[in-house]
Each structure stands twice: as structure tokens, then as C-alpha cells.
Amino acid sequence: MHSFHSCLQLLFWIGIAAFGAAAAAAVAFLFLQASSKRASQEELLFLHAWRPLLLGSFHSAMPAALPVLERAHRLYFLKLWNRLMQDSEGEAAERLIAIAYEAGCAPFCRHYLRHGDRVERLLATLTLGRLRDHAAWDALVNQTMAADPQTSLYAFQALVRIDAEFAAQQLTPLMLARKDWPVAQLAPILQSAQAAFMPPMIEAAQDSRATHMPRTLRLIEALRFSLPQTDIRRLLDTADDIEVLIGTLRIINDVSLLPQARNYLKHENWRVRVHAARLLGRIGEHADVNRLIPLLADAEWWVRYRAAQALAGMPFMSRAEIELLRNNLSDRFARDMLGQVLAERKPT
């Protein structure tokens, strides 16, 4: 009985402690809300003073005198400045860069890069890239090694903006190795520096021991680089990885490679057959029509679909010829697929 009552007391006091903890959480909540409101008001005041100045530089010369950028307003400045830089080019961008230098951005961004929290580091990284600040090169290179993909990718972007040639020489192996940098996000960074990245990426594709070949080939395709014929032949001959094979078929643009590529129309993996069919659709010859027809009866829907698209897309095949071909097909699946593709191509 005594222990029952002690346990009851314990339960009661745990409940009271929970109320106490809830009250503490409520106070913390109010504090956070108040500080967030204060920060928003402070940012509004900052924007009221600085936005007209920065916007004014879009159309006219540098303002005669800039107000002092307070320490507490630095992050607001970086956010505003980066937003405006996104939409500016030419002389307007140069004037914004000059304003940022005059406001003392470069030194405090370099400081943020080394000692700031993640938000400060990311804003500083973006800014230093746009300022083309060579002095921050080493710190930014260190940042590309960061485990966080966003921080490291933004550092890579900054380095490409500062010196694309040097970044390409120094960082191409890292870029190909970092699988956590999505190709979809890398491509827009590299698009502005295609000339710089073409030689090292082609060199990387020529290295038969490369462990990141599928990724390299995807980037080569995204940037529309051309790989020499000999390298493509070697890749087709030696590739035992399906992804490499598919990546290679996707970048072929040379008809002289067709004889080798045609062998893959009968590959055991249906994804390889899909890409071989697509390739013939892009650069195939008249003789390839008869090679594509059997694929219309393939067991895999996607192979039938791409073969039908390839046939319908060949410049020397008229609509009447495709319809005639469809009427002569004995396989119902092949006929249906060709019918679908013809309907898709009907002008809308």
C-alpha cells in the first residue's frame, strides 16, 4: 500500500514536471517568435535603406557614398545582393560587384567561409563566386570536400565562376567522383564553362580504368560534347557494364559507328535494345528499317515503343510508308504500337 502511494506521488510529480517543461517550451516558443519578428522588422529596415541603392545601380553609375554596412546586417546584404545578381548582367552586374567590394563583402565572406555556420558559409560561397574572388580559392577548394552536398556543390560553382579553366584542371576528378552532386544540378553549372571542361572530361572518358564512367558519359551527353570515334568504339567493345553501354549508345552521333551499334539491337538487356533503337531513329539509314521491324514485336513495351518512334522519325520514311508497313504487320502488338506512334505524330 505504501509503495502504491509512493508511485502515485511519483506519477503526480512527473505530471507536474511535464507541465513545467511545457511552460518552459512555451517561453522558448514566445522568445523564438519574438526574435523572429524582430529579425523580420530589422531586415525590412535594412531593405528600406539598401534596396533602392542597389536597384539604382542597375540603371545609373555607382552611388556617390554608401552607408556603412553594419555587422548585424551583413547576411541581409548578402541575401539581397545575391538575389539581384541573379537577374543582372553586363554593366549592371559589374556595378553590383563594385558595390559589394566597397561595402567590404570580400573580407567578411572569407571569414564566414572559414568560421561561419552553414547559412553564412553558403551565402559567402555564392557571393565570393560572383565576386570572382581569387583570394578565396583555397578555402573554396576545401569547401568542395565538405560532406554536405549542397555546401560542396555551391563551392564548386563558385570556383567555376572564379576561374573555369583552373577549376576544370583541378576539380574534374572530384566532380566525377562525387556521386552526391546530382547531374541535374551540375549541368547548369558546367553549361557556362563548356570549353574549359570539355578536354578533361573527354580525357576522363578515355581512361578505360575510370570508375565513374556512367556518370562521365551522362555529363558528356548533357553538355553535348563529342567523344572521338576511336574512344566510342573502344567503349562499345570493352564495356561490360550495362550503364556504360547505354551511356555510350546515347552519345553516338556518327554514322560510321552504326555497324557496331547495330549489334546491340539483339542485346539480352531490354534497356540496351531501347537505346540501340533510339540511336537508329536518330542517325539510322534506310537499311535499318528492316532491322527495326522485328523490334516492334519485342516482349518489352518500351523496346516496341522506341522502335516504332525510330521508324516514324526517320526522315526518309513517309507517313504513307509507315501506314503501309503497319497494315502489313501480322503481330497485333507491333501494329498497335505503330498506330499509337502515328497518332502521336499527328499534327495537333
Binding site: 502515485l8 506519477l11 503526480f12 511535464a18 517550451a25 523564438l32 519574438a34 541575401k79 553558403l122 498497335d336
Partner: protein
């Protein structure tokens, strides 16, 4: 100890586990919250988007939706995403849904080589828009929402599918946010996102609903996703890898709420393949659920509870399959004990303690201790939800004044939660009765 005493302590332990589990989920969610807080600060900055994001097929279920189907479809076609197709599935509507679509999008019959990978009611005709090359309409016999979504998955051309209905309005960048986990991790098979479901009205019940939604729809899923054991997202939406959805057998055509059991089915199917996989949760709001259904909150609660029980029953094998990962098994046990049976057990606990004290089976002091503990720990749970939100997504910040939110968090535990438990218990009983019948 007397049987009454045993029941009393059983009730107290149950409440402690339920509220303690909720607090642990909030703690687990903290790992992802710092990133959310930082992303809030960086949200206005330019994002790295290209045209290489994975293409998405949006499958829109339409049933007796003549009045709004054209506007819904138009809104989906206007979303900002590089490669997107919209497949509207007219699920045997008897009203003018099909005519409305024909008129708005100039549809023509399309001889598609439709392949059946998930069994559905027959598709009678497929149409293609002459105005939007990326819009197709499937006209099929009525089979319910799951059946319609499965038909849409059959017709989908792209590797990611997102199944929605006309009640869901996506934010312009909602699909970008949902697709990010697929870019970041190639093992991702699904990403679920939170929808802002409650229209905010400036009265106490509405604010209390917001506080509850924070806990159940945002931080609990975030907590489970931290250990890759996300089993369901109440009032959320899902972006699925098409091949994974097909491997899982698609949506359960017999389930009343199609999406309630989908993540469980994915866990089961992916576990069977013994390959690494990830089901991610996106905490940022990606859209909102429009409250167009005429149901009252009590009806919605009952319906959700029925769907939950149905989903859990159909995937009960997760409990004993050897292939089930232990965090998933733990999440499933939590789901059964605290979500499916929770309302009934919670109500029974409250009722038992009150009645037992009234008739003298336990001392009044025990009743006071129990309710102090239950309401205190419940209030802590509600406050911690508000605190986490203030540190991360700041959804409440825009909706109500802080003082009023605090009152709502307190009020939640002084009747609202118990009322919810009552409605949900009714849903549970409905479901059990239907099963017996």
C-alpha cells in the same frame, strides 16, 4: 495488487508510452530540422535547377468532378517542372466530367498501346489533348480511387509518378521539392510530402486543429523518416518510383483510402528484394488540401481511422516477415498500438480511471495523479510541436498569434484530444463491425 490497481497502472503506462513515443519522435525529427531551418533562410536564393530533373507523370483521379476538373487539370499543366505529363483518369463519372475535359482541352481518341501491369477495371477509351501534348485522359469503368490511380500508373511514361485528386492543389515548386530526395539518393523509391490541410479560421477549434496537425502530420512523419521507417503520412501526398509502385502491386483497390497503405506496401515489397531503399519525407509544404468535401471533422476522423485500420490489417505481415527491417517493424507496432487501437485504449484508460475513482475502487488521489500526468505530458507534447515549428518551418508563424497558439496547445489536451479519440474510436468500431458483417 488488486485488479483495479493493475488496470490503473496499465492505463498510466499506456499513456506514458503514447506520449513518450510522441516526444521521442519529436527528438528524432530534430536531426532534420536544423537543415529545414537553414533552408528557410536560403529559400529566396537562386536554386540549381536544370532540365535534367527526373520526369514525372501526374495521375489525377476524377469522379463526378465536372465542375472543377478543367480548372484542376489546367493548374497541373501550369506547374513549373521541366518534364511533366498529366494523365487524368475519369473513373466512371456519370456527370459531365468527360464532356468538360473534351471541351476544355480538345480531346481526340488516341490509339494507345496500353499495357496492363496492374490489374484494373477496363479502360474504355484513351484521349489525347490537341492543345497540350503532355495531357492524356483515360476513360474507364468505375473502380474507385485506387483503381483509377493504378490505371494511371499503367499509362505513365515517366519513371516517377504522383497520384492526386481534385482536392489537392500543388505549389508551383512543390514537385521540385518532392523530386529532390530522388536526386540526392539513387536508392529513394518514394518521397512523401506534407499538405497544409486545415483552412485556418480565426477561432479556437481551428487553431487547436492546427496544433494537432503539426504533431501528427509533420513531426511524427519526420521522426519516422529519420530512421527510414515512414509508414504513413496523414493528409500528405507521395511521389513514387513507378517500378517500385508496380513491384508493390500498386494501390490497394479494395482500400477505402488508397494512399493510407501505400508506403507500407512499398516497405514490404522493397524489403522482399533485399536491396537498400529509402522512403523520404519532405517537411516543407508542397501544396494544400482543399476542403471541398462536405464532411464534418468527426466524419473525417472516423473515415481516417477506418482507412488506417484497413491499411494496417492488409499489411500485417510486416510484423512477422523476417525481411522487415527492425525500424519498420517498430514503427508498425507503434502504428498498431498508438494509432489504430490508440483512441479506444486511450478513452478506455480515461473512463476506467474516472469511474474507478468515482465508485471507490481506486483512491481519488490516484485519479488526480493520473489526469495530472496525462494532461501534463500531453501539453508538453503539444508545446514541443509548436517549438519545433518555430525553429524550422514556421508554418504557424503565418497563421496565428503566438499567445493564441499557446492557448490552443493547452486546450488541445483539455477536451479536443479526447473528443478526437472518441471520433476515432467510433471509426475503429465501424470498421470492426463492417469486418464482422
Amino acid at each position: 495488487m488488486t485488479p483495479a490497481g493493475l488496470l490503473f497502472w496499465g492505463s498510466a503506462v499506456y499513456i506514458a508510452l503514447a506520449h513518450g513515443g510522441g516526444l521521442l519522435l519529436h527528438l528524432a525529427a530534430c536531426s532534420g530540422l536544423r537543415r529545414a531551418e537553414e533552408n528557410c533562410a536560403l529559400a529566396e536564393l537562386p536554386q540549381l535547377h536544370s532540365d535534367l530533373e527526373p520526369p514525372i507523370s501526374l495521375v489525377l483521379h476524377a469522379h463526378e468532378d465536372a465542375a472543377r476538373i478543367a480548372a484542376c487539370t489546367g493548374a497541373l499543366l501550369a506547374l513549373h517542372y521541366p518534364m511533366l505529363e498529366v494523365i487524368v483518369v475519369n473513373d466512371g463519372s456519370q456527370d459531365r466530367t468527360m464532356e468538360a475535359l473534351r471541351e476544355a482541352f480538345e480531346l481526340l481518341p488516341f490509339p494507345e498501346a496500353y499495357r496492363i501491369r496492374l490489374a484494373t477495371q477496363p479502360v474504355t477509351q484513351i484521349y489525347r489533348s490537341t492543345r497540350h501534348a503532355n495531357l492524356r485522359v483515360l476513360d474507364k469503368q468505375a473502380g474507385g480511387r485506387s483503381d483509377a490511380w493504378n490505371a494511371g500508373i499503367n499509362a505513365a511514361r515517366y519513371p516517377l509518378v504522383c497520384c492526386i485528386d481534385c482536392d489537392t492543389a500543388l505549389q508551383p515548386d512543390g514537385l521540385h521539392k518532392l523530386a529532390l530526395p530522388f536526386l540526392a539518393d539513387a536508392d529513394t523509391i518514394a518521397a512523401a510530402g506534407a499538405l497544409n490541410g486545415l483552412p485556418h479560421q480565426n477561432h479556437l477549434p481551428s487553431r487547436v486543429g492546427l496544433v494537432t496537425a503539426l504533431r501528427t502530420r509533420l513531426f511524427a512523419p519526420l521522426g519516422w523518416s529519420a530512421v527510414n521507417a515512414l509508414l504513413l503520412v496523414p493528409a500528405g501526398m507521395q511521389l513514387l518510383r513507378k517500378d517500385a509502385a508496380i513491384d508493390a502491386g500498386g494501390y490497394d483497390s479494395h482500400a477505402a483510402a488508397a494512399d493510407a497503405g501505400m508506403l507500407m506496401r512499398l516497405h514490404d515489397a522493397a524489403g522482399a528484394q533485399r536491396q537498400p531503399y529509402r522512403i523520404a519525407f519532405v517537411g516543407d509544404a508542397i501544396g494544400k488540401r482543399q476542403q471541398l468535401s462536405p464532411h464534418t471533422e468527426s466524419e473525417r476522423c472516423r473515415a481516417w481511422q477506418r482507412a488506417l485500420l484497413e491499411g494496417a490489417c492488409s499489411q500485417r505481415a510486416l510484423l512477422w516477415h523476417r525481411r522487415t527491417r527492425w525500424p519498420v517493424r517498430l514503427a508498425f507496432v507503434y502504428l498498431l498500438l498508438f494509432e489504430c487501437l490508440g483512441p479506444l485504449l486511450e478513452l478506455a484508460s480515461y473512463a476506467w480511471v474516472a469511474i474507478a475513482a468515482a465508485i471507490g475502487l481506486i483512491p481519488a488521489q490516484a485519479c488526480l495523479a493520473f489526469f495530472t500526468f496525462a494532461i501534463g505530458s500531453g501539453t508538453l507534447l503539444s508545446m514541443s510541436g509548436l517549438l519545433l515549428d518555430a525553429r524550422s518551418f514556421r508554418q504557424m508563424h503565418r497563421l496565428a498569434e503566438p499567445g493564441r497558439l499557446l492557448i490552443a496547445a493547452l486546450a488541445e489536451n483539455l477536451g479536443y484530444r479526447q473528443l478526437h479519440a472518441w471520433w476515432r474510436a467510433q471509426g475503429l468500431i465501424d470498421r470492426l463491425r463492417a469486418r464482422r458483417a
